[in-house]
Symmetry: C2
Subunit: 190 residues, 2 copies
């Protein structure tokens, strides 16, 4: 399964494509950033980002698109642009008939590091380790997009609705996820 | 000049097309609402609204698209969807190479009623009068879209950057706007 992760932003929109299966090894396909100049009008900026997203979808043919869920409580000065880019990313996926999933930042952190409140640098380090990259993906938006894609591949269905669930009641997908997570953490210590 | 006004919303997106010139009589071309069912996933809702906006642009060939400027301070539970629809409306216009303008609610109220803090019903009444409609456009989102289009036609360039400007320093476009506004207010009293 191939997932395109989109970390929405009007100045920098992170894009990352990852191949993998639930609980299995993940591999990097492509990573980058779509940019738009803040001096341009908003509609032209959205057009630049939308064109880039369309290009990535057409070039990499993902099976799913994972977009960061944007909350109104985020940075007020940029949240409207971020929400608009999240909207055009969802629209681009829908127009290509590709399923869309939204993941919150803490879901992504939990999936990649095992801790929903992990620091940004820890998330980036884990993304580099999980994808066997020699260095941290830069800029941070690119790493975040890869983390979103990995989260989508690894997050077991239903995990969200039962975050407090005890280990004994895990489904097989959830056990696979937990095991992959432990393996990744072991690797990070090794 | 023909303007498509878009009052963005995910459940109801107001759409209104108005013909007119700065300070001159305005006429209704079309008005309606694009809707999406809240039970659908966000990407499918955005696709429905985007498809409707594309259809309106292609059918009515506006010279400009006026979109309400959305602020993060608005209703938090709906502001993200509203921002996303504003984004796809701007994107739709950009893809059709049509200029986009954003107008704030108070700019729209000031353009249509002469009072930036006018009540919603007053704005709707003025829209009906200005367009010689027998009844208030419904739902409110449709009337708001028409008001946006009228605002775009009537708002003089530079009016925003100099709201405190004295009457003596008005440009001819601004005088025309003030005069149209006065005429509209006289009509509302008559």
């Amino acid at each position: 399964m191939r997932v395109l992760g989109v970390d929405p932003g009007l100045t920098r929109c992170g894009l990352g494509v990852v191949d993998g299966l639930s609980g299995r090894r993940v591999t990097l396909v492509a990573v980058g950033v779509a940019r738009s100049n803040p001096d341009l009008d908003a509609d032209q900026r959205l057009l630049l980002i939308a064109t880039a997203i369309d290009h990535w979808i057409e070039e990499h043919a993902p099976d799913a698109v994972a977009v960061e869920r944007v909350f109104a409580q985020h940075n007020v000065s940029t949240v409207m642009g971020t929400a608009q880019v999240a909207g055009i990313a969802m629209l681009a996926a829908a127009r290509h008939r590709i399923p869309v999933a939204l993941h919150t930042p803490s879901e992504v952190k939990a999936a990649v590091t095992g801790n929903g409140r992990a620091e940004k640098l820890q998330v980036q380090s884990m993304v580099a380790r999980l994808l066997s990259l020699d260095e941290l993906p830069k800029p941070a938006d690119a790493a975040d997009a890869l983390a979103l894609a990995i989260c989508h591949l690894w997050r077991p269905a239903g995990a969200l609705s039962a975050p407090q669930r005890s280990p004994g009641s895990l489904t097989s997908a959830q056990r696979a996820w937990a095991s992959a997570e432990q393996a990744a953490r072991r690797a990070s210590r090794g």
